[in-house]
């Protein structure tokens, strides 16, 4: 009986302590202030902000929309720095990222929904990190491997300034997985066509990288044509490219989750971690689209294990 009374007492004490601890945590959470700068009014950014708000343990004190205008963004950033003086700035989208990364400020910046951030970040900037939209190269390499052992050499076109870091990483991961990345650097869409023609007997698959030059409509169309002519699989960056004729596509699946990733980084920074110790993240939810019509035309059978993980199938 006395034992039961003591247990009850201990439970009550623990409960009181846990309430006190949560209150203290809540008190510290509302201490740090975050300002948000959004590149433009698009649904994907709103979803990212929603995800950010769900996970952030601190307070958002101001939200600004640049409306796609860099000059407006600069003025808003000046406003944030002089009037709001937040503990952290969330920059959503590439323009907000560009504006915040270019300004000399001590305020830590976390970005979200930015593609190839390392190509946009000026040298020497240490207070910036964030959640990119990039699909991890590991995912793409894994998909190539799942397509079959006949795929040993994968061709990529790239521009060193934009996607050089990606190719480097892909080569490293590919080597580990027994896949060779055959790269061709290009500086214009015209060069892309020549580079592809030069690759024709060297590769077993083709990969569209998120590179501005590669993504010009004529280069994408030529890559699709090349894939059909050579009967080799092509992996694209979006469901749209799969609809256009790419065999597969891998893209980020959730803007909201990218926002959540950004909030996790923001929480770490506001709780004492320096931003330069936190590497930028890549999309952890990835959408796979399979084009079965393209598979039929290419004479490729998509393994059931791969088909089973597809989020979208074009019949």
């Amino acid at each position: 009986m006395r034992y039961a009374g003591k247990t009850k007492m201990t439970c009550r004490l623990l409960l009181a302590l846990s309430i006190l601890f949560s209150l203290l945590q809540a008190g510290s959470a509302s201490g740090a202030q975050v300002a948000v700068l959004t590149s433009a009014d698009v649904e994907a950014y709103k979803d990212a902000l929603r995800g950010f708000k769900r996970v952030l343990r601190h307070q958002i004190v101001a939200e600004y929309d640049m409306e796609g205008n860099l000059e407006t963004g600069k003025q808003m950033l000046a406003d944030i720095q002089s009037k709001i003086k937040p503990d952290l700035i969330l920059a959503i989208g590439p323009w907000a990222f560009q504006v915040t990364a270019a300004q000399a400020t001590n305020i830590p910046v976390v970005y979200a929904m930015v593609l190839n951030p390392s190509s946009l970040l000026p040298a020497g900037v240490k207070n910036v990190t964030g959640a990119s939209m990039n699909v991890p190269v590991e995912n793409t390499i894994r998909v190539f491997k799942q397509l079959g052992s006949q795929i040993r050499r994968v061709g990529v076109l790239f521009n060193r300034a934009k996607t050089g870091y990606l190719v480097k990483r892909a080569m490293q991961v590919g080597r580990e997985q027994g896949l060779e990345i055959v790269d061709r650097e290009i500086r214009s869409p015209k060069e892309a066509i020549q580079a592809l023609d030069a690759l024709q007997d060297e590769i077993h698959a083709l990969w569209i990288l998120p590179d501005e030059i590669v993504l010009t409509p004529e280069v994408v169309q030529y890559m699709i044509l090349f894939s059909y002519r050579k009967k080799i699989p092509l992996i694209g960056l979006s469901e749209r490219q799969a609809q256009m004729g790419a065999l597969l596509s891998l893209s980020f699946a959730s803007s909201e989750d990218i926002g959540r990733q950004a909030a996790e980084l923001a929480n770490s920074i506001l709780e004492g971690q320096p931003p330069d110790r936190l590497p930028f993240t890549m999309a952890r939810q990835v959408k796979l689209t399979v084009n079965l019509k393209a598979a039929e035309k290419l004479g490729i059978e998509i393994p059931k294990s791969l088909l089973g993980t597809a989020n979208s199938i074009i019949q």
Partner: protein
């Protein structure tokens, strides 16, 4: 940021207060206003013929129009002829290019002229617009306004329940007076619009029209002598009797019926579906009904709006079909009506759009005059710079035999979004 938000809200509150102030201010009502012009012809007491010789039977007040054949309901017919410019929607917006990871500015058509499309203005945006509309009414129930006729019958003098003989003495009851009536009715409407985006999906708007109504009536009366034996009716120049010709009318300018509107966009960019919005509108009886400046009724409109933009790419969507369907309740049940509009706007050049709409209004409990009105509107919008737009358009009746109708309504407008 907070101050800016506060200022925006202040603007909204001021707008609402302005609406309320106009709504509760006393109406200026003058007896015998423009509305009664036709009724007031010939002194307003019917046609008085020459008085009888001493000891004779007085025929002067025996003629009256059994009805003004609907011409006494001019105010309702006049006001229903007016279209209201669409609540503005953003000239440009953004879509997201998932491959490049950047927002892409969309190029859309510049919107319809009188019908509505689903997108809203955008959060904390203010659109100010002005329009001028000219309406020159030409027909009433299919008859030309400058060539109307009213027949005034004799009353039943001997109260025998019929007109004319027997006895032969009373065959003068068969006489009629024919009034040839020419009307000129014109309206100029100067409308001021303000639309404010409370959120990304919710707009509120206010329309304040200044209306100038002009009405001129010229009547010429002729006695139709139908009695075979008697000849007792004639105009004379004796003071106290009417002349065969009478004129009336005038011009009045004042505030028209103020409109408060709100649009909510509840479905946007959803694959396989059009964008959908609901619009609520209240028309307040602020216009002087007696002087043809307003309807004298409060109307509440609920409208469902569907539209979808199409184009060769996600960033270029140059064709926008739209469809509106709604019901308007009025404090006068006769005026309750269904509203519909269908059409499209198309961006032909980067800064020029053309728009066309079929606009209809059907009164299920109407009085038989102008119960179903169908017009076609054709117009163009020009976006010379930034968010500045110039509009021009015409509205043509598709069923001219219904109600009081012009041959053509034309309108000019300009708008700017801050």
């Amino acid at each position: 940021m907070k101050t800016r938000l506060l200022l925006h809200w202040l603007k909204v509150v001021l707008m609402l207060l302005a609406v309320a102030a106009i709504g509760i201010s006393p109406k200026v009502v003058s007896a015998g206003g423009l509305k009664d012009t036709i009724k007031n012809l010939y002194g307003g007491d019917g046609i008085l013929l020459a008085p009888p010789p001493p000891g004779g039977f007085n025929h002067a007040p025996h003629f009256q129009a059994a009805s003004l054949q609907g011409l006494d309901s001019l105010s309702g017919s006049l006001s229903s002829g007016l279209g209201v410019l669409a609540l503005s929607s953003s000239v440009t917006g953004f879509t997201f290019d998932i491959e490049r990871g950047v927002p892409v500015r969309t190029t859309e058509s510049l919107g319809p002229l009188l019908a509505e499309r689903a997108p809203t203005l955008g959060a904390r945006k203010l659109n100010l617009a002005f329009s001028y509309t000219r309406i020159d009414f030409k027909r009433f129930e299919g008859k030309r306004l400058n060539d109307l006729s009213l027949t005034l019958g004799h009353d039943d003098s001997n109260v025998d329940g019929r007109l004319g003989p027997p006895p032969p003495f009373f065959d003068f009851e068969l006489d009629d007076i024919l009034v040839d009536l020419g009307l000129k009715i014109k309206q100029d409407v100067f409308a001021f619009f303000a639309t404010y985006g409370l959120t990304r999906s919710w707009d509120i708007g206010l329309v304040v029209p200044i209306v100038r109504s002009r009405l001129r009536a010229v009547a010429n009366a002729t006695i139709i002598d139908n009695s075979p034996t008697t000849d007792v009716h004639f105009f004379d120049t004796v003071p106290g009797s009417d002349q065969p010709r009478s004129t009336g009318g005038g011009e009045k300018t004042g505030i028209g019926d103020v409109i408060v509107r709100s649009k909510y966009n509840f479905l946007r960019n959803y694959e396989g579906w059009p964008d959908l919005s609901i619009l609520g509108q209240v028309k307040l009886p602020t216009g002087d009904q007696d002087n043809l400046l307003g309807t004298g009724e409060t109307n509440v409109l609920a409208l469902l709006i569907a539209s979808r933009s199409f184009g060769p790419g996600s960033d270029i969507r140059w064709l926008t079909p739209h469809f509106n369907l709604g019901f308007e309740w009025s404090t006068s049940s006769v005026e309750n009506n269904f509203r519909y509009a269908a059409g499209f706007d198309v961006r032909l050049l980067p800064s020029v759009s053309l728009a066309t709409d079929v606009l209809g209004r059907w009164r299920p409990q109407g009085n038989g005059i102008g119960d179903h009105i169908v017009d076609i509107a054709l117009g163009a919008k020009w976006n010379p710079l930034g968010t500045f737009l110039l509009n021009a358009g015409v509205q043509l009746p598709l069923n001219r035999k219904e109600g009081l109708r012009p041959n053509l309504i034309w309108m000019l407008g300009l708008e700017y979004t801050f």
